[in-house]
Amino acid sequence: MNYEALDVSGDAGIRARGRSPEEAFAAAATGMYSLITDLAGVQEKKSIEVSAEADSLEGLLVGFLNELVFHFDAYGFIGRRVEIARLGSGQVRAVVHGEEFDRSRHRPGLLIKAATYHGLKIENAGGLWDAEVIFDI
């Protein structure tokens, strides 16, 4: 796994890692989904395309994750595999593979209200990109 859950007072977060910003973004998204349900039970039945715009890498990550929160909360879409198609010049575009959340099959975890800027970090050290995001629960 290229992400781990962060223990935050009252809420929950994710630390994600990748060899590129794209990998770190994909890991952060998968990590976020893992807080919502057990990903082992999620199948790749459909795909959605999402995009977000912001003028910083941090803004892009928060904007991107909030798009996924929106798709889950409005349409019940839960992803398990995330492909970042483009990241740069103020834009992120991604394809997410997953299915519709089904309460009879998917274990309910945390209800995420939003990805926040609180304690937000994206760091590049020794060729590895580390991202930390905290979610409002």
Partner: protein, 481 residues
């Protein structure tokens, strides 16, 4: 240089002097006794100090005894800003706009409800969806949703969910003027279309309780509360609709801070001058979300009444399930207060704090004009909840505000770790409390140990005089998200 010394003012108050963090425009005051001060997080204190740095803050940056670290603003924070040079900040309201608490009383005794409790909870759990991925019973199109945004609880009552009598016992009458649906995004519409009448998750709940202690006989009599009486408490907010409004406007504020050259110690404090189009647009969208929350609690209350009628085999008259009150504890409002002997309008932000207006306040309904505003403070599911009344002193010191709940002490992860190998469900059952929860982890995260003891929190606001204890409610049955 920062001088991190805290001054104890009296038994129930500490002060963060302006030297606590350089740049503070006013001091910070936190309502705490020594015992609660021992558990105070330094990060939460810094957040109180950071809020004191915001332009146009009036009086002091305040926090209630249930304070804990939030995003930008601490949970439990209250801050008022000048209408000339102050700001409006979505972070001072929070993601769950108009998260709040509603209390219903009844003519039923604890003994009468006990045998039917499990069946009652089963019906409530089915009728009022909760937990991750749950949807409400209603599907609202755009036009209908716009009526919710402008009508609030009045919309729900118009749909047959409740009466005019309910509305007068809701803060702001269950409907804030000045909501503008055109300032709410399509995304918020989409998230909100299927969530009216749903509880959500996390610390939200619906609880069947009984009155187990009265502290103020006269106050309780006026509120219609007496020992062993069954009450129902509903704690939820504007669901995904409000979360999306907050997310959308945090982005707007990000741009606004650059446009207006506002320097901030923390990005989550993003804000705009109170008279700017950005701030005014946010307020109009926030009011739409606040109205959504009141419609939501009204719908949930309606289905709760129906569940009681069905289970108890009684009509509305015999059940007597009347509103005590409904409070918002995440909200920003333009209110009139007295500053240096003069009446002025202020932009009051309450984030995890409850309005607690004093007797005689013109915004209170006739029934509570003499008692002061009822304040509803939920505790954790194993301990108790409290009913208090607003006081004159709250008007003088806290812009008519008080605490909103227990405040977490354990992280979710730590709570789950400590619950491992235990059955929280069984432990509560042994205490005579039945819980139904959509998720097992929620149960562990929300266990009593994860929270401060609500009694200690309430004793501080009572001792400090910013509200007055009236009654204690004990849980009998709980529906958790």
């Amino acid at each position: 240089m920062a001088v991190r010394t805290v001054k104890r003012i009296d038994e129930y108050r500490i002060e963060l002097p302006q030297t606590y963090v350089p740049g503070m425009r006013v001091k910070g005051i936190i309502y705490l006794d020594e015992a609660l001060e021992r558990g105070l997080e330094e990060k939460a204190m810094i957040q109180v100090a950071n809020v004191a740095m915001l332009p146009g803050i009036v009086g002091a940056s305040l926090a209630m005894p249930d304070i804990h670290m939030g995003y930008g603003f601490a949970i439990g924070g209250v801050a008022a800003f000048s209408m000339e040079d102050g700001i409006i900040s979505p972070g001072g309201v929070g993601y769950d706009i108009n998260c709040g608490v509603r209390l219903l009383k009844s003519r039923l005794t604890r003994q009468a409800v006990a045998p039917a409790l499990r069946r009652l909870l089963d019906i409530l759990f089915t009728e009022i969806p909760s937990g991750v991925g749950s949807k409400g019973k209603l599907r609202l199109g755009r036009q209908e949703l716009e009526k919710v945004m402008t009508g609030g609880a009045l919309w729900a009552a118009g749909e047959g969910m409740g009466s005019a009598r309910d509305l007068e016992r809701i803060e702001s009458g269950g409907r804030m003027e000045g909501a503008d649906p055109s300032l709410v995004s399509v995304k918020a519409h989409e998230r909100g279309s299927a969530q009216i009448g749903s509880l959500g998750s996390g610390n939200h709940f619906l609880e069947i309780q009984y009155v187990d202690e009265i502290y103020d006989e006269e106050g309780a009599r006026r509120l219609g509360l007496h020992r062993d009486q069954v009450t129902v408490m509903i704690h939820t907010g504007s669901r995904g609709f409000g979360h999306q409004v907050c997310t959308d406007y945090l982005e707007v504020m990000e741009r606004a801070i650059r446009k207006y050259g506002i320097e901030l110690p923390d990005r989550e404090l993003a804000c705009a001058p109170v008279n700017s189009p950005e701030a005014q647009d946010y307020l109009r969208a926030m009011r739409a979300a606040a109205n959504y929350a009141w419609a939501n609690r009204q719908a949930i209350m309606h289905w709760t009444r129906q569940a009681f009628m069905k289970t108890m085999g009684m009509g509305p008259e015999d059940l007597g399930m009347e509103m005590v009150y409904d409070v918002a504890h995440n909200i920003a409002k333009i209110e009139e207060h007295v500053v240096n002997g003069k009446k002025v309008k202020l932009a009051v932000h309450r984030k995890g704090a409850t309005r607690a207006f004093a007797p005689g306040h013109p915004e209170l309904p006739e029934a509570y004009r003499q008692t002061g505003q009822p304040v509803l403070v939920p505790g954790d599911m194993g301990r108790a909840s409290f009913v208090l009344l607003g006081t004159r002193r709250a008007m003088d010191e806290t812009w008519g505000s008080t605490c909103h709940g227990a405040g977490r002490v354990l992280s979710r992860h730590e709570a789950i770790r400590r619950a491992r190998g235990r059955s929280i469900y069984r432990e509560l059952e042994d205490m005579g409390i039945i819980v139904i929860s959509a998720g097992r982890e929620t149960l562990a995260e929300e266990m009593s140990e994860a929270y401060k003891d609500i009694s200690n929190v309430v004793d501080v606001v009572h001792g400090a005089g910013i509200s007055k204890k009236v009654a204690r409610l004990r849980p009998m049955g709980v529906v958790k998200g």
